[in-house]
Symmetry: C2
DNA sequence: AGGCTATTTATACACTTGCACAACAACGCC
DNA sequence: GGCGTTGTTGTGCAAGTGTATAAATAGCCT
């Protein structure tokens, strides 16, 4: 009796454990910030003990880096997925892209908290700044490509500088509305942000209102 | 000889010391994040010893709260200051407002780092979320007021909902471009962001290009 | 069934953290 | 000029930090 009573455990596959630890890290950061994301908190959340982290990651910093990379990957992946409707008109695709970016699950307070917490350290951490830069430029290039298609369909031939300015402005509109939605989502009715975004972007591009909204 | 050699110090006025400690806190957070802002780091930066912090603030949390309040105060104060040109036309005032918000010192990586670091915790800290909400609504109301003036000068009578949507969109444009500028300022030539912002906002409001840019 | 090995736990350690408290000394007041 | 007030320092402490390492055991292979 009064056995040493060591904790029971199961062995998991390496990839599974790494993902669990990364998810637990993101959860911890979202809930308590970077300061509250201690190895013990993370391990507890992942259902393991703290020592195990060092078996999968060289150190805590590496775990945080991989967690941030995973977050960015998921965000850009979701964002770009909305552009895959091949059969629609460029204008519809752009609208769908905006709509996807201004509704759940991309409008999400938890994701925003994570983004803000990590990006706040971009000024001090060059690796983090570079990761952001790449994600941002990738996103903006996607926007620029769709804008080019939209304008081409309207028989307009913008030069490179014009195109770039449109992409910067549209990116800003989406980012700005995304923040407003994440921070004060309940102040907007469903679909309102997307409607505002689409109208603003079409104004930026000088597009006439869609035919369906005009009198026949 | 080998006297105890206690550190020399000067007594400062209460307000001065509090401000120094708050500034040192913001510097520490900007440089090392919330995790790196320890009482010892902050005190060292302020040129005092750690114990003094407890003489001016009940605890570290209170110091952080006051530092965030000070940051928000300075940001909104600077932003609104650009609207004070009484003698200019509404349209010029709006343009000046945008220009002021999209150049130094408001476009600033350090300020952005601080904003992101603090706002990242808004999801978990209700007091912080409320502080943000108030600042945001105040800013948006300013925007809405100028927009109303601009449209009135154009003899247009927007209803409340229309006005609100314009304010939301314009706020998003400014915020989005602000972020782009803070995070990748060197990718834009001086004044470029402001020009993009003004064009996007005038498009949103359906304003014709200014007369000075049209052929006479 | 029984051992092998790598995953997992548990413990230890040096260091940092926020905070408490007593000693001290700078400055105003008489 | 001495003296009291109190701003300021220095030290101490318990709790928590990341990491190192040894001990244990779960699950695969034969």
């Amino acid at each position: 009796m009064n056995a040493p009573s060591r904790r029971k455990f199961r062995r998991e596959g390496e990839e599974r454990r790494r993902q669990d630890l990364i998810d637990a890290t993101l959860d911890s950061v979202a809930e308590h910030g970077l300061e509250g994301a201690t190895v013990r908190t993370i391990a507890l959340r992942a259902g393991v003990t703290a020592g195990l982290i060092r078996h999968y990651f060289p150190g805590k910093e590496d775990l945080l880096r991989e967690a941030y990379a995973a977050l960015m990957g998921r965000m850009t992946e979701q964002a770009k997925a909305a552009l895959l409707m091949e059969d629609a008109s460029p204008r519809r695709r752009l609208a769908a892209f905006v709509t996807a970016n201004l509704n759940a699950p991309i409008i999400d307070q938890r994701v925003f908290s994570l983004w803000a917490t990590f990006i706040g350290r971009a000024g001090a951490d060059p690796a983090l700044a570079r990761a952001h830069r790449e994600g941002y430029l990738g996103f903006r290039n996607e926007v620029e490509a769709v804008v080019a298609e939209v304008l081409a369909a309207e028989r307009r031939k913008p030069d490179a500088s014009e195109l770039r300015h449109h992409a910067i402005a549209i990116n800003a509109i989406i980012d700005g509305l995304w923040i407003e939605g994440c921070l004060a989502g309940e102040m907007f009715s469903p679909g309102e942000l997307a409607a505002i975004g689409i109208k603003a972007i079409e104004a930026e591009l000088g597009l006439a209102p869609e035919k369906q909204f005009q009198e026949k």
